[in-house]
Symmetry: C2
């Protein structure tokens, strides 16, 4: 484990550990437990997919019933518990009940997350043994949030963690989280699990508002492949152990700080997209309104042709304009301006919808840097947005052609 990961912690008041219970074929860590010493305020943002995995439906109901009393989150990788019907829901309930019994808390104080293959029933014998290992056999578990961040990975090549210290409301607050996600990533949301913790004192209703604000600015702005999964979940738990109270007056500042944390995690997801070698930041400016800006930016971020061109360092900028053209936004080709890069290294490629004489070799070099920054000005108004994606490589195909076999 890297030093950074070994020293990674969640917010004060939280602990985490992980074990390998055999849900991943390769014997890697696949079950993580996050606990809080005290009951937490909690909020969640979940997949918009109509086909929702059992743990998504289960957690939505728990958060409805018990938004101020969450004590633990149990997370497995290797099996998504999606398309598993009533038995999948029973398995969520049993997992929460066993975890709660061992922790000595109420069953409704435990949230359950799953990620992995769709359409297979959970191996509850293995999962239950894993829960016992995490709660009763310290020697069978690896302590630490770093281990938990590794356990929730599927096709991720590296764990994704962030720990931010923020001065808020006259005190010091920690916002720290981990997430996983590499394929099936698209607004809204990604195939993604994220658990963000804070030690702020904040009521569930405010936590929910802050989380939706942050999700819109982070996880809802990344695309790897345009697929939206059955399991996407972003959880936010607030332990209150800092004693710093976030009320209505402090909510905007808290939301901004939370957005910063979530953006950092979301960028890690986009950069680690399946097969990806670098992060692409798509900036759309000069849009008539925010919806138009997003429409255009998402079309560009989703275009396989654009993303393969970036992968090859091919300054084939026509594909950016083409994607903007089919985005559905009512753009005017004659007012488009396109550039690669920023600041002193920015190269303008198109102005007034027409090609400029540009140094294409230098443009190609900009496409090989990390991050790649592409800015398209629509020339229609004052709205702007930024979304993140990754380049598209052969390895994406390699990874996904044999995922279950």
């Amino acid at each position: 484990m890297s030093d950074e990961l070994a020293s990674f912690t969640l917010a004060p008041g939280f602990a985490a550990l992980a074990t390998a219970c055999g849900l991943k074929k390769n014997g890697a860590l696949d079950l993580a437990l996050v606990t809080s010493a005290t009951p937490c305020s909690a909020a969640g943002v979940f997949t918009t997919n109509r086909v929702k995995a059992a743990p998504v439906l289960y957690d939505q109901a728990v958060l409805q019933r018990n938004p101020a009393g969450i004590r633990a989150v149990i997370v497995n990788a290797g099996n998504a518990n999606a398309c598993t019907g009533p038995r999948g829901m029973d398995d969520c309930r049993a997992t929460a009940a066993l975890t709660a019994e061992r922790l000595g808390c109420d069953s409704d104080a435990v949230l359950v997350l799953s990620t992995g293959v769709i359409g297979r029933q959970l191996d509850m014998a293995r999962l239950s043994a894993g829960v016992l290992a995490l709660t009763t056999t310290p020697s069978a578990a690896q302590p630490g949030a770093g281990a938990a961040a590794r356990a929730i990975m599927t096709t991720d090549t590296r764990p994704k963690v962030v720990n931010h210290q923020v001065a808020l409301a006259g005190g010091q607050v920690t916002i720290a989280g981990m997430c996983k996600g590499a394929g099936m990533i698209h607004p809204t949301m990604a195939t993604m699990l994220a658990i963000v913790t804070t030690d702020a004192v904040i009521a569930p209703a405010l936590l929910d508002r802050a989380l939706r604000h942050a999700a819109d600015r982070s996880f809802n702005r990344i695309s790897v492949d345009g697929d939206t999964s059955t399991n996407d979940t972003l959880l936010l738990l607030a332990s209150g152990s800092s004693g710093v109270v976030i009320g209505d007056a402090e909510l905007a500042a808290f939301s901004e700080a939370l957005s910063t944390t979530c953006i950092a995690l979301a960028q890690q997801v986009a950069r680690d997209g399946e097969g990806a070698t670098r992060l692409i930041e798509v900036r759309v400016t000069g849009a008539a309104d925010a919806a138009e800006a997003h429409q255009v930016a998402n079309a560009i971020a989703r275009s396989p042709l654009f993303k393969t061109a970036v992968h090859g360092g091919d300054p084939n900028w026509g594909r950016v304009l083409c994607a903007a053209g089919y985005s559905g936004a009512e753009i005017d080709p004659a007012t488009l301006a396109l550039s690669f890069g920023v600041g002193a290294h920015q190269i303008a490629l198109v102005a007034g919808g027409l090609p400029l004489e540009a140094d294409l070799a230098a443009a190609s070099r900009l496409l090989r840097q990390d991050p790649v920054i592409v800015t398209l000005d629509l020339g229609r108004g004052g709205a702007a947005t930024t979304v993140w994606t990754c380049d598209f490589s052969k390895e994406y195909v390699e990874i996904n052609a044999h995922y279950t076999t």
Copy 2:
């Protein structure tokens, strides 16, 4: 050239030939001319992309002015003449004028098509020399519609041609066409050029209705990569040389016959998707209405995760349900039924939203056949649709990572 291609002809009354004028780097055929001995009724369906190539805008205007007097179509590959501003339009005009002068017809009797790289001005010296070769130097040109079908290819691995004989209105009618398209293929429409000819006698207004009907059932139902190009054009020319008159009473039968021809061409496009190894037919049944059926079918056909799984023969059917779930249609997971294959070889994988005990090795074999047939029943109503796509391979990335370099 294969025997089939060597013997391919357009409808009676049409001739075609091709030459290499240097727009393709590799010296291959890149300029095709289709001519009619008599003025034709003509109709066109064009890209919905807001960024339209110059020839798209040019042809739309010509068809408006002169829908019953078309004599020729000049088509270049290697350069899309898109994002080329006023100079691009001037180049269309000059190309049509030169072709018309050489053929001894009016400039407005000539349509112009281009396909290739976006954002570069046409090399008019080469293109003009090519037009002269096609019209005045038989030795510099290859005769035949087969040569023309090869000349319009870009990343296509093979020409796409169809010649159908149909009994209609008490006579015999030919509907024959060629098209190109491999990447940037998505409804509506594909990165695609198609020229369909018939010897029926039919007025432009009826031709237009028949063409829209056929396009909705063929080219608007294929997806390779979700990108919609700047140049998509489907042209239909009717020479009238059969003497068989298609009026209002015969229009439905003509439209169906035209649809059959267009579906055959569209399937060839999907099967030859960039890097593709086989055709995938996605059937959605039991939908509440046609719009819902299309919404679900297109989401599946566009999913890179589904298409890479097919490529690898991985019966990872959860990805089909997942794509249906995020399609935007209000499906109910509990009423979904999924199968691979048809007839005696059909394998049911999901019923009532739940996994069935299925022979996954046999399901994997079905995914390795051509075509792959996937049927998702939504269990909501009586509407159905079929769309076509292809598997997604590493070669797609290879082709598109270095397209302009």
